[in-house]
Symmetry: C5
Subunit: 156 residues, 5 copies
C-alpha cells in the first residue's frame, strides 16, 4: 500500500485537491491518500516535507493557484524553489501543480484549466509510483498538462 | 500547552506583532506566546529558526513590511526564501505576514491592511495548530488575508 | 564499470535522452546506462539525486526543453538551481542539457539543436568520467554545445 | 565576554568596518571584536560562517558596498541569500549592512550614508546581544538605518 | 604546504586558469596547485566542492566567462549562488572570477580583462591564505580586479 500526499491551499480559487483525488481514484488502486490544506503556496514546501517525513507519504502533489500580480509571481517562484529543496531533502517526488491566474482568459477557463491540470498530473503521479515505463515511452513527446500536447519535433 | 512565536521588525511602520497577539488571544486558548523583534525582514528567517529550535515554538508568525523600492522587493524575496528554508530545516510552519508598502494607497490604508492581514493570519496559525479541518473545508475557496476574499471559480 | 544516469522529460519535444544514449555508446565503453523519465524540468533535480543515491550513478545527464514563455524561463531557472543543489549534496556531476524553445527559429532547427547539444554533452560526460585531461586541454577555448564553437580571444 | 565578528571588503569605498567598531566601543562593553576582510560581498557569507564556527563569534556584522550596475545588484542579491543561509546554518544573527552605490547622489553622501548606516546597525547588534527589549519596544516604529526614520502609520 | 584548486571551463574564451596559475607562482611559494576543467560555469560549484572535499584544497579559484545573453546572465547567477553554497558547506573560500562577455567592447579587451582579473584575484587568493592583514589594510579602499580601482570616498 503506497501513500499519496495531497497538499493544497485556501488561496486557490478551485478545489484542485478534490479533482486530483477523484482522478487518482479513477486511475487505479494500491494507494491511500492523506490531505493537508494550508493558506497559500509558500506554505506548501514544508507541508509536503511533513507529509513525507511525518506521514510517510511516498509521493506528494502540491496544488496551488498563484495570483496574477508581479508579487504573486515571486511567491510562486519562492514556493517552487522550496518544493525542489523539499524533494532534495527527502529523495521523494513532489509534483507541482500550479495554475497561474493569468494563464486563463476568464474565470470559467481558469476553473477548467485547474481541473484538467490537476487530473492530468494525478495520472503522472500514479505513473511515477506504479508504472514508470509509461513515462519513458513518452520521453520527448511534448506532453502538456491542462492545455493540448505540443507533440514532438523532427529535424529530418 | 503549545508555543507560538511572534517574529517582527522595527522597520515595519505598524505594530503587526501586537495585532497578531491580540487576535490570537481573542481566538482561543491552549498556547503561550514568545515574541522576538529584529531590525528588518532579512533578520526574520534565523529569528524564526531560533524561536523553533531554541525556544521550542510549535509554529511562528513572521511579520514584516517591506518598503516600496526595487531594492526592498529584493529584500522581501530573500527573506521569503529564507523563511521557506527555515521551515524545511525544522518541519514547522512559519506563516509569513508581509505587507508591501505599495499595496496601499496611503498611510491610513497601509495601517488598516497591516492590522487586518496580521489578524486574519493569526487565525490561520490557530487553525493550523488546533483545528486543521477548518482549512481543508476552505480548500480552493479563494480566501485572502487583509483584502476581501476572491471566492471560488466554476467551469460548468 | 561506471554508471551513467539519463534523466529526461515527457515535456521535451525531442527525445534528447535517446540521442545522448546513442552518442555515449558510440563514444566508448566501460559504462552502463540507467534512464529515468519524469514530466518536466522541475522534476529533474530529485530524479538526478535519486539516480546517484539510490541507483549509484557516477554521473547524470539532465535533459530538458523549457518552453518559450517567461513562466517557462522561471521553471528552467528553478530546475537549474535544484540541479546545482543536487550536485552539491552528492559531490557528483550532473550535466544540464537544456534547450530553450526560443533558441531555434523553427521546429526543425529546434530538433537539430536538441539532438546535437545532447550528443556533444554526452561526450563531455564521457570525458569527465574517463578522460578529464581532454577537458583541461580545451580550457578557455570557447567551446559550445549545439551551436558552433566561439573559439578563444587574444589580447596581444 | 561576547565575541562580535566584523566582516568587510576591500571593494567597499568606505571603511564601514572601522565605523562599526568605533560605534560598538562607544555603545557599551562586555564584548571583544574579531575582524576579517575579504575582496567583495560574495565572499562575506562564508567569512561570517567562519567567524561564527571557527572564531566562535556570537553575532557578526557583514558590511559591504555593492556597485551601481545590474551585475552588482545581482552580486548583492547572491550575497544576501548566502548571508541568510549562513545564519540558518549557525542559528546566529548576521546583520547585513549594505550600502548600494546608487543610494547616494554623490561620493560625499555615499560616505556619509555608509558611515551612519554602519553605526546605527552597530547599535542594533549591541541591542540584539545585550538588550533585546529595546528592539521590541520599537517594533513597528518604522525605524531606518542611515536615512531618517519613516515612523509608524495609524488607521484610526 | 597549502593546496590551491583552480576550477575553470572549456566555455570560456580565454585560458583564465593558466593566467591565475602563472600569477600565483610569481606571487609566492608554500602551495601546490590542482586544476580541474569542466564544460561551463554551472559545473563549477560541485567542481570546487570536490576540489575541497576530495582533493583537500584549502582554497579554490572558480574562473569562468558567462556569455552576453539574458540566458547566460541567469547561468552566471545560478553558478554564483552555487559557489556560495559550496563555500558554506565546506567553510573554505572559493574566489569567483567571472568575466561577463559584455563587460568588454571587443575581443581584445575581453582577453585583456580576463587575464588581468584572473591575475589580480590570484593575489587575493594568496593573501587570504598567507597574509590576511594585507586585505584588512585595504578595507574600504574601493579596490577592483581587472578595471582600475575606484578608490575610497570621504564625507568630511
Amino acid at each position: 500500500m503506497k501513500l499519496i500526499g495531497i497538499a493544497d491551499t485556501t488561496f486557490a480559487r478551485f478545489d484542485m485537491g478534490a479533482a486530483a483525488i477523484d482522478e487518482l481514484n479513477k486511475t487505479g488502486t494500491g494507494f491511500r491518500i492523506i490531505r493537508y490544506t494550508v493558506p497559500g503556496v509558500k506554505d506548501l514546501p514544508v507541508t509536503c516535507k511533513k507529509l513525507i517525513e511525518e506521514q510517510h507519504c511516498d509521493i506528494v502533489m502540491a496544488l496551488g493557484m498563484p495570483g496574477p500580480k508581479q508579487k504573486d509571481k515571486m511567491c510562486a517562484h519562492e514556493a517552487s524553489t522550496g518544493l525542489i529543496a523539499a524533494q532534495l531533502a527527502t529523495n521523494k517526488h513532489i509534483i507541482e501543480v500550479f495554475v497561474h491566474a493569468d494563464e486563463a482568459e476568464n474565470d470559467k477557463e481558469l476553473a477548467f484549466l485547474a481541473n484538467s491540470r490537476a487530473r492530468e498530473h494525478a495520472v503522472n503521479v500514479y505513473d511515477l509510483l506504479f508504472r514508470p515505463d509509461r513515462l519513458t515511452k513518452n520521453a520527448g513527446m511534448g506532453l502538456r498538462q491542462g492545455f493540448a500536447d505540443e507533440g514532438p519535433v523532427e529535424y529530418r
